[in-house]
Symmetry: C2
Subunit: 171 residues, 2 copies
DNA sequence: CCTAACCTTTACGTGAACGGGAAGGTTTGG
DNA sequence: CCAAACCTTCCCGTTCACGTAAAGGTTAGG
């Protein structure tokens, strides 16, 4: 096996690489989100490429998705459980047990997906509302451009049932 | 005038109605997210239906979307600007100005949508990853059920193995 | 008019998610 | 071998988003 010595990074380099601060990275370790791949002889934290991936993943969940560290921890715990089950799977010879391990893993993934999709659904509902307003506005612009009188459609206080405006929702 | 005096609610009723606490509602006022529609003679806060809508909207952004109150404030400021512009629009007679007001409003809505869509994209990317893993697992289950050898398809993205190592968080 | 239930403001407390500094050990180039 | 530049573990400080309690005013029912 061609062993390409995987260069390990110290915390400041990791910080520069991930856009986090050393303090934040240590804090994430403190709350159990990730442990460095290794420690130097003098106890320096040393991180590998997977650690970087994981930290970028965490940052994405935090900044982009707006998850709390607790929620992120839950998602990552599932990841870890997956990894552990992979080991169990490898060391198992019994097809029945193997099948059980696999279906358990699938169940966990499904729960993750469900959790994520719920959040997406909520966000999309908000987008729909926004785009209803947008098409309403756009139709007024169309009226103006056509020299027409404003149609003066009553503001849809009642939620749903927006009669589609003439313009297509962008996107 | 058929003035069907819209019942105003006191803070505890609003809390029950929105699932927030009185403290939280006062706090949201403190940070400028909403002001009660009125005050009683003795300075009791009194809320109307729109206040309820707004509070539910805030709660949705907070719980479902995971926005910070600062971000929510930004989105609501846009909402307020929209409302003010509506007034400006009504009082304007110049089609050019009216068009400008409308397109400004559309721009704001688009920014809201963009902000929401970014979050969705991030979440969807995570779902894609999860479903890749799922189908991978499912194919192994199929192999087992068919009595085949595990195909051992290499995992597309090498991920970290269980990061244990950290026995105690802190000592 | 009384009083219980509600409300007010003020203010200190709390958990999450870090920031920042002190005191001291580790690495590395010269 | 030595000093600068990192790093370590405490540990206290801060902001956000409220919780909670105190001290007192308001409202509705009897």
């Amino acid at each position: 096996m061609t062993d390409v010595a995987p260069r390990l990074l110290r915390i400041q380099e990791v910080a520069a690489e991930t856009g986090l601060t050393p303090r934040t990275i240590r804090y994430y370790e403190e709350v159990g989100l990730l442990a460095p791949a290794a420690r130097s002889e003098g106890a320096y934290r040393l991180y590998d490429g997977e650690d970087l991936d994981r930290l970028r993943f965490i940052r994405g969940l935090r900044d982009d998705a707006g998850f709390s560290l607790a929620e992120i921890g839950q998602l990552l715990e599932d990841e870890d459980a997956r990894a552990r089950n992979r080991d169990r799977y490898r060391s198992s010879r019994d097809p029945v047990e193997r099948r059980q391990i696999l279906t358990d893993a699938i169940d966990r993934v499904d729960r993750q997906v469900t959790s994520l999709r719920q959040k997406i659904d909520r966000l999309e509902a908000m987008i729909v509302e926004a785009e209803e307003r947008r098409s309403h506005l756009a139709s007024h612009v169309d009226d103006l451009d056509a020299g027409r009188e404003p149609t003066h459609t009553h503001d849809p206080r009642p939620r749903r049932s927006a009669s589609r405006g003439g313009t297509e929702p962008r996107g």
